[in-house]
Point group: C2
Chain length 244, copies 2
């Protein structure tokens, strides 16, 4: 219970609530620990809860009729998912799966809706969040249309590095991602990703490992973009400030 409270307090979306509300939430939410690859919900299931990631990463995916997968997002601890349950979504439009051994907090839709009603400001914060994710999708749609695999790969590597990368003393960043996950993130085949990674590896920009890769020279990776594309990714320059 204390632990639950701690986690909730440390989620950006909830941290501003007064102690009383936080305790109520901690009391009424369920905490679940689970192994890697556990699925929290599948597409088409009833949308009746909101999740808060406490530990591990969670991937949100859509699967085509033929079983091919696209990754909509990969969440880090402190982020919530399934929040579209409070936007009139009846059934899930994606699946949610743990990428690592994970811990999540489950809040019923009813409870969350009550919270929104008690704190109108919360609705604005959720609105902000949903809007932000929508804009991210718009950017990805654009990249998918305009950028070749190599660029999409670099953009995604840098993006993932900011969210999930572990920074080393020497400035390199390690990422816990399989080539398959990367492929599903950028909408390419696993082989195309492997080939492109091999090329970057040869250029000394990164190292590959089993289920992981290490960005040795993030700035160098970024430079592979600017040759063909205009300078237009100022946010990515923040890469240096990656959380360690």
């Amino acid at each position: 219970m204390q632990r639950r409270l701690w986690y909730i307090k440390n989620a950006a979306l909830f941290s501003w609530l007064q102690e009383e509300e936080l305790q109520r939430l901690a009391m009424r939410s369920e905490m679940v620990e689970c192994k890697r690859n556990t699925t929290f919900y599948f597409a088409q299931e009833q949308s009746d809860s909101i999740f808060l990631v406490k530990q591990g990463r969670v991937k949100l995916t859509r699967t085509s009729a033929e079983g091919r997968e696209v990754i909509l997002d990969i969440l880090a601890p402190g982020e919530i998912f399934g929040e579209l349950a409070v936007t009139g979504e009846e059934l899930r439009t994606h699946s949610a799966t743990a990428l690592d051994d994970a811990m999540v907090c489950i809040i019923t839709r009813r409870e969350f809706e009550d919270l929104l009603r008690r704190h109108p400001e919360m609705a604005l914060r959720v609105l902000k969040l949903v809007g932000l994710r929508r804009r991210e999708l718009e950017m990805r749609l654009e990249d998918l249309i305009f950028q070749p695999v190599a660029n999409r790969l670099v953009l995604t590597l840098l993006w993932q590095a900011r969210r999930h990368g572990k920074k080393d003393e020497d400035g390199s960043v390690s990422l816990p991602l399989t080539q398959k996950d990367l492929a599903h993130l950028i909408g390419a085949s696993r082989e195309a990703v492997a080939e492109q990674l091999a090329e970057f590896k040869q250029q000394g920009l990164l190292r590959t490992g089993y289920r992981s890769l290490v960005l040795i020279d993030p700035k160098g990776l970024m430079r592979t973009l600017t040759t063909e594309t205009e300078m237009e990714f100022p946010e990515l320059l923040d890469l240096v400030k990656i959380s360690g």
Copy 2:
């Protein structure tokens, strides 16, 4: 002023407000009439107003560094755009342009935020709207990755028919779209769209015209999907109920 009130009252997002609020909105909003191809705002401009479409269609686009365009959405009368201004968006991430001679209503962000504060329920409705558009983007991302041009084209034609099509007595639906617009909607080249349309034309599924096309056999178009893809577009069966 009366006309302004009428339009606002007839927008789904506002219709539930009490008369008093509607009048206030009508009073404080600006009504603008403009020609086809007028741009309401460009990407990177300050996000300080929300728009309501009264007449004509409005397209929202993103443009790549090289000048290529992707259409994020095409709005019909009664719909709003620019609403991300109230989600913490500082600068526009897309441009908005009139596809027809149009009329829009402009509400300042401040005014809209006040409205949200006075009516917390409004925040929930906007949240619902933004969530819906996010899900649409997720679907398009998936289609872009999994579907070939032919399928994307059909899906888009049927989708556009529902939103903007004019239904004829004989069951055919006419759409005011250029091939270029279609190409930008599905992320393909204009030529690829033309070629595919030619094929459908030959199969008697549609007719093409200058800046317009007529879906002669929407169900037949849909059937071209089910051969290669599984049946998985139940919503599209509503096509028969297209607004006339």
